[in-house]
Amino acid sequence: MPSLSSLFQVPWGDYAGSLGGGLLRTLAYTLASFAGAAVVGLGLALMRLSRLRIVRIPAGIYTEIFKNVPLLAIIFVTYFGLPSLGIRFDVFVAGVLSLVLFYAAYLSEIFRAAIAGIHPGQNEAAQALGLGRVTTFGRVVLPQALRLALPGTNTMFVDLLKSTSLLVTISAAELMTQAQLIASETFRALEVYLVIAAIYFVVCYPVSQCLLWLERTIQAGVPLSLGRRRRLRLAKALLEGKA
């Protein structure tokens, strides 16, 4: 049984720079992919809720395909496969594109369920008040759907952050790729990968806790937008006879 001191022998100080760079890369992949996946996912969800079959069906097919294909296969096709068709992406674009394609399918399922979960009476009430379709969606349906979608979306965000580690297979310069380099230089795989796992944990845990806090705050009805705060302040002042 090796002692703790014999377990930790890698000169981590020398690798701080490459680890920091890798971590930033990981975060960049995560944020870019999540933003893209959220936009595409919302579009897909809206398509799947359309009354027109011709709009609904392609979105359904897309979702089923990308939900049932491994992420690693998507990464390999985009980065190693497409160049044979003359389509060449730089590694960051290929990585983000793969993650967007994959996670958009999952997010669209979450968003679709959330939007479909809004009571039809909400749409009717909005219409009866003369709100147009776009305003009704933006001001009545979407804010409520976001609340319903938040728990599932948060889980997906953390899942996506961890999945960026698969990009090690295309040497994406993110955290796991750095880990692989350090391991091959030092021949201390156990130590290196334990430390990397710990770094992922130290990033992911606070993120999921923050998202949980956001979930609870929104659920409790705390107004987050400046416009709402301003209107509520004004209403309060009027009620107290101060405005």
Binding site: H119, G121, Q122, E124, A125, A126, Q127, A128, L129, G130, L131, G132, T135, R139, V140, P143, Q144, R147, G221, R228, R230, R231, L232, L234, A235, K236, L238, L239
Partner: protein, 266 residues
């Protein structure tokens, strides 16, 4: 007989007031099942018309046609002189504007659960009627005060009783300055105490001269506030008249049966 009651309606309605709502030959069916089989109804400005009858008789569908939440298959509806639909097509040029003039209160309130009471009253003012923010907030506070809920302005719908929610819904409909208010069984989902609160607000509105169409099972209330009562069954108007006529001297067998079943002393 039908012609005679229509004549009577014109007679009673023809008090020289302009018509707020005129419905002629209105037809609607769902999947081949006729829900409205030719309805004629005049609602003069400032009057209150109650629609009574069995569930499934077409009352709610009739009401939902008036603000075009349902598109009728045939017949015409005219609001304040403007034809809004005819022969199964919308002729109203500005649908949002129409809905601001014809407010609606639902059986299940349908408040926006993600917004506070005061924001529920603000939303459509700003985003449908383009009222400036400050004015919208001021009017919302004023209206909540009017329905006795100033102290609940900052509450969310799920923190309010059914009666409070329905009163907020009335304030929300009033905020757009409608000329006609539609009430679709506004007290059916409420306990007796909440029903009392909501009826008090509606009584006030009646006193202020608001034109109202009311679908209800609250016959004592219908009798108290209505200028005109219409009994609908099987998608047709079976009988109509003043509250006293219809409740005290119903002539049609179906009306007699319905009234005697529902008009137990309140």
């Amino acid at each position: 007989m039908a012609d005679a009651t229509t004549e009577a309606a014109r007679g009673a309605a023809g008090t020289g007031k302009p018509l707020a709502v005129k419905i002629a030959g209105l037809r609607k069916s769902f999947d081949g099942r006729t829900v409205l089989g030719g309805i004629d109804l005049d609602v003069p400005a400032g009057k209150i018309v109650s629609i009574i009858g069995q569930s499934g008789g077409g009352k709610t569908t009739l009401m939902r046609c008036v603000n075009l939440l349902e598109l009728p298959d045939g017949g015409t509806i005219t609001i304040n002189g403007e034809p809004i639909c005819g022969n199964g097509a919308v002729t109203c040029k500005d649908l949002p504007k129409l809905r601001q003039r014809v407010g609606m209160v639902f059986q299940r309130f349908n408040l926006f659960p993600h917004l506070t009471a005061v924001e529920n009253v603000i939303l459509a003012q700003m985003h449908a009627a383009s009222v400036p923010e400050r004015e919208a907030v001021e009017r919302a506070v004023k209206l909540l005060t009017r329905v006795g809920l100033a102290h609940r302005a900052m509450a969310y719908p799920d923190q309010m009783s059914g009666g409070e929610q329905q009163r907020v819904a009335i304030a929300r409909a009033l905020a757009l300055g409608p000329t006609v208010l539609l009430f679709d069984e506004p007290t059916s989902a409420l306990d007796p105490e909440s029903t009392g609160e909501v009826l008090t607000v509606m009584r006030e509105l009646a006193k202020d001269g608001m034109t109202m169409i009311l679908v209800t099972h609250e016959l004592p209330f219908a009798r108290e506030v209505s200028d005109w009562v219409v009994f609908i069954d099987g998608g047709r108007i079976v009988e109509q008249g003043t509250a006293a006529d219809l409740f005290d001297h119903p002539r049609e067998a179906r009306t007699i049966a319905y009234v005697s079943r529902h008009a137990a002393p309140a």
